[in-house]
């Protein structure tokens, strides 16, 4: 279970990897928040329920990441831990753990504007799953 970034001329690619699809999605979310803040400094004391419905697994990844960006803006919260309790091609039920932005403690970095369809892929391979896309910063 891990994440990595991949190259793009103008923006950043995020890739979540895991033994299960849930882990890959969780890691993709963590990769996205690590672009915005040093997540190690967060106290993930507050939890937020996140439920997503979509027509297919690609749309599900976009909607999952977008929902977390939405919560970042409207709740002023950043997240560092994700627990997906249910996932299939059309649904996610999850909890995101984080806290309100605190300018004195958090090292804030680049704002992610959106998760995009560019280089979006959800793949199963011998060792598990990957979930990736480019994010617009």
């Amino acid at each position: 279970m891990s994440y990595e970034y991949f190259e793009h001329q103008a923006d950043i690619g995020i890739r979540g990897k895991g033994n299960t699809l849930a882990e890959a999605f969780e890691q993709a979310a963590l990769a996205m928040f690590e672009i915005m803040v040093d997540t190690i400094d967060l106290n993930p004391t507050e939890s937020q329920i996140v439920e997503i419905e979509a027509d297919n697994s690609e749309e599900l990844l976009i909607s999952w990441l977008s929902e977390l960006l939405f919560l970042k803006d409207v709740e002023n919260k950043i997240f560092s831990r994700f627990e997906i309790s249910k996932i299939d091609d059309n649904t996610i039920v999850a909890k995101a753990y984080g806290e309100k932005i605190d300018f004195s403690r958090h090292k804030l970095k680049l704002e992610v504007k959106a998760a995009t369809w560019t280089q979006l892929a959800i793949k199963k391979h011998d060792n598990g799953y990957i979930a990736q896309c480019l994010v617009d910063v």
């Binding site: 103008a10 803040v37 803006d73 804030l108 970095k109 369809w117």
Partner: protein
């Protein structure tokens, strides 16, 4: 699609203009403004999955595209559309594409002019930069100074910049000197999701992060005295320029419709060579909804920059007891109906600045004889340009030009290569003070991560699409 990268042909007897003939699914040829260097970069990238050239050819395959798919000299790969791309569509047969606008609707540039000189600035340079750093909300999570309720957001989306001017943020003269006078008709808040509106409750009048900035600039070179005088520009003059867009609201509209338009593409049997290139017929319900939502996003961005202009003006009044005037405000991520050669067209400009030439009704009367100020941002350590549109640009590019330098290095590479504090130190040696909300952002926006803006601008100037008026150099930069 052909893997032969030599699809480019030089247009005879024209400087810096190349074409890709119609091939495969292309409905129109493509025209690219570039010199050998720019075209060679496109050739080298040709076989990548998401190369700018493939994106150019993909857009040229969309129904109803008029005349040709255009790419400006700052062309580089974007989402579905190339950045620096311009595409015009027939309203009856054509499509609207989310990729042709992007996730930061009406991201643009506004330049304010002062009656101060470099010498006037010098003793108070650090103070005014600190004042602006404190007063202009920037960086991730920084709320704006205005809190809006849902009904106010709805009104703002319809009324644009005049809405915030009526609240006391700015003047009628600011509106005169804004593209579309700061408000575009046809915005429908009903077509904008509640989520998008909620993201804007406390983001109006905020700069954001990434490549968004506010700069103090000095007029360093004048190329055209007469036009400079018309614009009110003189040697050594202090200007303030900032670059930002429609913030969370625009990002959410982009996300919402990226999903809807992929579905519409499938529903209407439109080409979808790349999922990001989702589109809908202009006259379909989905197309009309997206256009109404984009118009709302465009108005939001104008209002956003209007509030920032007001904050900047107040800071200058406080520090220098002087009034500053708006030169111009122009977007570079839009899709708008415009009339060209008597025909109504939907013009997508993705990372391309509207650049109207002389004698156009949509140019403020004070500038009408010479054309619109075209504001081209450079990078932190380099220069920016103010140009004007030309008759040739009206004829060839629907009155459009490049929008900036364009990246040449990925953010991850830039982060490895540069260190934020060192970048700031090097700029300070050149007399440029940088204040940043994030050092990570600085490394990624290091001047070396971008193409040479002079080269990009000269390419367009020599092609005759725009005309250089002045070059400005930064003396202070605020980054989100």
């Amino acid at each position: 699609m052909s893997n032969n990268s030599d699809v480019f042909q030089k247009v005879p007897n024209r400087e810096n203009l190349w074409t890709i003939e119609k091939r495969n699914e292309m409905r129109v040829p493509a025209f690219i403004y570039g010199d050998e260097k720019i075209i060679n970069e496109l050739r080298a990238d040709f076989n990548r999955d998401w190369s700018a050239t493939r994106q150019i050819m993909n857009v040229a395959s969309l129904p109803g595209i008029q005349k040709g798919m255009l790419a400006m000299s700052d062309v580089h790969p974007g989402y579905g559309f190339p950045i620096g791309g311009v595409a015009a569509f027939d309203p009856a047969e054509g499509v609207v594409s989310m990729a042709g606008v992007g996730y930061d609707i009406n991201c643009g540039v506004r330049t304010m002019i002062t009656d101060l000189t470099k010498e006037d600035l010098e003793p108070k340079k650090k103070d005014i930069i600190s004042e602006l750093f404190q007063s202009v909300p920037a960086g991730l999570g920084k709320p704006g100074k205005i809190k809006l309720e849902i009904n106010q957001v709805n009104e703002l989306l319809i009324e644009g910049a005049p809405y915030v001017v009526n609240m006391g943020y700015g003047t009628d003269d600011d509106l005169i000197n804004t593209e579309e006078n700061g408000v575009i008709p046809g915005a429908d808040p009903e077509k904008v999701s509640h989520k998008a509106k909620k993201r804007q409750y406390n983001q109006i009048g905020t700069l954001g992060s990434g490549n968004h900035y506010l700069e103090l600039q000095i007029v360093d070179k004048i190329f055209d005295q007469e036009v400079a005088k018309t614009f009110g520009l003189f040697q050594n003059q202090l200007l303030v320029t900032f670059h930002c867009g429609s913030r969370g609201l625009g990002h959410q509209i982009g996300t919402d419709y990226s999903i809807k338009l992929v579905k519409a593409s499938k529903k209407y049997g439109l080409p979808l060579p790349d999922k990001e290139l989702g589109s809908a017929p202009i006259n379909s319900a989905e197309g009309q909804s997206y256009i109404a939502a984009v118009n709302a996003g465009i108005n939001c961005a104008f209002a956003n920059r209007q509030v920032i202009a007001h904050i900047v003006r107040k800071s200058f009044k406080k520090m220098f007891n002087t009034e500053i005037r708006q030169l111009y405000d122009v977007g570079h991520n839009t899709s708008k109906f415009e009339i060209h050669d008597g025909k109504k067209l939907l013009i997508h400009r993705k990372g391309s600045t509207r650049a109207y030439g002389p004698n156009q009704d949509h140019v403020p009367i004070a500038y009408r004889k010479v054309g619109q100020p075209v504001l081209i941002g450079g990078t932190m350590g380099t220069s920016s340009f103010i140009l004007t549109g030309t008759d040739l640009g009206m004829k060839e590019t629907f009155g459009s030009a490049c929008h900036g330098a364009g990246r040449c290095m990925s953010r991850t590479k830039a982060k490895k290569k540069y260190w934020g504090k060192a970048v700031i130190g090097n700029l300070e040696k050149k007399g440029i003070i940088v204040r940043a909300h994030s050092f990570a952002g600085i490394a990624e926006e290091a001047p070396g991560a971008y193409k040479d803006v002079e080269h990009v601008v000269n390419t367009m100037h020599n092609a005759g699409v725009v005309k250089k008026v002045v070059q400005v150099i930064p003396v202070g930069v605020i980054k989100g």
